[in-house]
Point group: none
Amino acid sequence: MAPKVTLEHRENTRDRILDAAETLFQRRGYHETSMDEIVRKSGMSKGAIYGYFESKEDLFRSLHDRSYVQAFESASALLTAGGSSRSKLERLVDIYFLSKDNELSRERCRMSLEFSVESLRMQPLHRQQEWRDKQLHGLIKTMIEEGVRDAEFRKDLDADSTASLLIATIDGLILRWATTDSKIDWKSARDAMVSLVLHGIAASPSRSG
Amino acid sequence: MAPKVTLEHRENTRDRILDAAETLFQRRGYHETSMDEIVRKSGMSKGAIYGYFESKEDLFRSLHDRSYVQAFESASALLTAGGSSRSKLERLVDIYFLSKDNELSRERCRMSLEFSVESLRMQPLHRQQEWRDKQLHGLIKTMIEEGVRDAEFRKDLDADSTASLLIATIDGLILRWATTDSKIDWKSARDAMVSLVLHGIAASPSRSG
Amino acid sequence: MAPKVTLEHRENTRDRILDAAETLFQRRGYHETSMDEIVRKSGMSKGAIYGYFESKEDLFRSLHDRSYVQAFESASALLTAGGSSRSKLERLVDIYFLSKDNELSRERCRMSLEFSVESLRMQPLHRQQEWRDKQLHGLIKTMIEEGVRDAEFRKDLDADSTASLLIATIDGLILRWATTDSKIDWKSARDAMVSLVLHGIAASPSRSG
Amino acid sequence: MAPKVTLEHRENTRDRILDAAETLFQRRGYHETSMDEIVRKSGMSKGAIYGYFESKEDLFRSLHDRSYVQAFESASALLTAGGSSRSKLERLVDIYFLSKDNELSRERCRMSLEFSVESLRMQPLHRQQEWRDKQLHGLIKTMIEEGVRDAEFRKDLDADSTASLLIATIDGLILRWATTDSKIDWKSARDAMVSLVLHGIAASPSRSG
DNA sequence: GATGAATGAGATTTCATTCAT
DNA sequence: TATGAATGAAATCTCATTCAT
């Protein structure tokens, strides 16, 4: 009856279910994972799971929520910490790819990608997702503006479109990474990307639009 | 009963099925589309469809094949045509986004994305997909090498990793595009991207990395 | 902790649960109403409800009990009160249709009907129900016998079968009433019924069997 | 491929499913009967049943349809056949209670009653049901008008409300019949009812309104 | 070859009831 | 005694695929 105990208990149980679902969705994909498997993995009963989540889709959604909040907090912390804009850029890229235990997580990227696809058919979520995208966009835009202010980045950069491109580029790397089986030397790929983003590929530093 | 007629007929029928599937997969997604719907849309019988395709997955695969071949041919043609490397870059971006009728097709991007996700669980296809990625990679690598040779691009570019990044960036834009509902001015987004890729974001043209 | 207070409390709680169930069963039907909804509506806990009622079915049964007792008391009172047999007949019909607040209650009729259906599969209850039917039958039989004695009704009436028919006719009206959505002028329907029951439809007053 | 064979086949299969469902719904009730039981009883596969009926509810609806059409045709035939109005009245009552094999079918009445209850929550069907009630009403109204014209029935009868009452009375008998377990001598109950309906219960033939 | 009725395993979800706290 | 989290059997329905005609 003590509410604190009950609440804590609910949190734990919820997390237990989310953990099981995360493992399975990452390993086998959303559609290939059945609720029965989540039941088995989590050790909970079917009814219990439906007491915490309205549906399989809601479970997926909630799982994404948790990941997003974790990732956003990490990104937020790193970007507000000190350091050069360049180093922030590097760390930003890392956040996307490193899981809790600082391991590159291809599975995680795959799930994230699958979520992007599925979320297209989840109307109410879609709104939320767009809001979050804006949040992230704002964060990175600020980082770029700081870089411009500190003269690390070009004066004539449009912070808005640059932020969009940056995000897209990182997303693209995730997609590649998630999609490929061949070993990639992650560090050098990241460095190459940062270098490209910093200096571009053009021969002359002439400014064209 | 001339075999040629029959072959032509088979081709047509096959395309009819693929067209129906394409429309439905794009509109409702792969998992949400049932074979019954494809039967209805295509006007073919169930047996007929299974005469042309081994399974629903095979149908999806074949559909992707057709799209890929079309896109690759377009890319190939554009890149071997004349023009500056910069203009090639611009056109390359366009190819990804423009459907047959030169319309931006968000639906198409979505299906392509869904295919990327699904293909992860389709082992035999996966190989093929990697081979194709290499093909595309080679095409773009060649384009970059030409750009370097013609002194349009920086001398110290690593063609390999630059090609990867380029592809990733474009993929990322697709993902954004497919995932977002808000109107995007496509031309200016593309120009911003090309500009970024060409000149980078760094303030000074000093070469680091 | 005086036992009387506790008993009173139990009665109140019991009624609170019955009220909640009544509202829901009438609004959504027995099968469509879940125990969770009753929990929510009544503001009681699950355990509490199961402390008062053995099962959902028992709850339904008890609810019917309460309604029946109320209705039977009303019928009993009206019939033993003075007045012509004809006026008793009229009032009898009304009792069936008027809820506590003297409003015609279609919902109530519907629930009563649903109960009749469900009770068929509730063996122990069935007995009770038959006993009650007999009780009501007796009440009405007595009323008819009085009517005959007072020369308001035909001498050759068989009180038994006439009572049955009378009940059936009223039940039939309930069924119609419960089942129809169209507005019915209740008073004139009742008067027509009483008139029909009194005088029959035959042209001549000749007595045939 | 011959359509006639296929159509006939479909009809037969459909009827086979309906027969199985009818038996079970009558024996155990709608809610207590599971689709699995219907599968077992009909000898069809689950998929097959869902190929013929959209849902369990649709199956119930269709079953009622079939019964209704049969009953209405019988009623229609009997009423348009010759004979006195009184004999028509008697036969009308019988139709309600006698199944195909001319057996009194309590089970059938129960199912019909349960359908009345369930249909309240089936909106689209509800409309149809009301239309049917009107159809039946019209049929009986005509019968009464003929009785009046032939001077078998009282001149001052209102055909409309009398038809309503008549139907209600029969429905009430069904309800009683369906609801009771005790043996009822059907013939004498019917005769008593017809007699009551013809001559009323009032002592004097004085016409009151 | 073509057809589409039939299959049936398996998916998600519900909900009356129990029982540890 | 009261609570409400947990249970888990059972329900409805889906759908890729097969195969007799």
